[in-house]
Amino acid sequence: MFTQVKYYQPYNSPNDPCPPVRVKSYQTPPQLYIGFQPPNLQQFSPKQALYCGTLWPAFYSPYPDPDGRNDDK
């Protein structure tokens, strides 16, 4: 399944001074995967396109992660 966020588990020492973040994430937005934009992609309505910052859902990248699994907070 395609996801725009990837996760990894960094090493945590028992002597780390800060409370450990056990799972870290990084963004992998759609432009990394698409290559040349294919013709006839599905389009947002004009209003939705302005809100999203792009005309095409295939390029839309919500941030923060809508699944709410961000590690940083």
């Binding site: 937005p29 698409i34 290559g35």
Partner: protein, 189 residues
């Protein structure tokens, strides 16, 4: 030449006076990966790149100035009526001493913008790869500022700007593919 449209590319709303957030946001105004660096980098590269991608650099470089204007509006609104005490508490005391409420091309740490932030190698692939990297770095900077910000109105604009970095990166990646393609080569059967 350019035509100027007297409106912002995307509406800017700021929820509260927050000079602390302005201090972080100024990174996108006069920082290494900010909108000024981006605009000047792309527009300057146009002269020494194959004709096929000159228009793309013009379009994206121009849009970066529209983003610069949005960031300026955000920073201005965040600091507009802040007292000297509020500026000092936000770490902007030194800025206030030099600039009062004026905007300045500097990064979040207060270092003035410098042309050494941008490169022009003259090699089309090297320059476009630089541009892709610049877009990804600007995207990351928007992420970190969104993480620092607790102003939902402001974040709406920042999320829009982050998405535009993604589209720009996509277009630069396509430009590299255009230059790689062997379209002009003779084909023999």
């Amino acid at each position: 030449m350019w035509y100027y449209e007297k409106k912002l590319q995307y509406p800017v709303r700021v929820g509260s006076c927050n000079p602390q957030l302005a201090k972080y946001l100024i990174e996108q105004y006069g920082g290494a990966d900010g909108e000024l660096s981006a605009a000047l980098r792309y527009l300057n590269q146009r002269y020494t790149i194959p004709d096929k991608v000159v228009g793309l650099l013009t379009d994206i470089g121009t849009e970066e100035f529209a983003h610069l204007e949005m960031i300026a509006t955000m920073v201005y609104k965040l600091t507009k009526d802040a007292t000297p005490e509020q500026m000092k508490a936000a770490g902007l005391g030194a800025h206030y001493a030099n600039h009062e409420h004026a905007l300045y091309y500097e990064n979040a740490a207060g270092s003035a913008w410098t042309a050494t932030y941008i490169a022009a190698k003259g090699d089309p692939i090297a320059d476009l790869y630089e541009d892709i990297a610049a877009e990804e770095k600007a995207r990351a900077t928007y992420q970190w500022i969104i993480n620092l910000s607790d102003d939902p109105d402001l974040n709406d604009g920042l999320k829009y700007l982050r998405e535009r970095e993604i589209i720009h990166s996509q277009r630069f990646r396509e430009a590299v593919e255009i230059l790689k393609e062997e379209r002009d080569r003779q084909i023999f059967f």
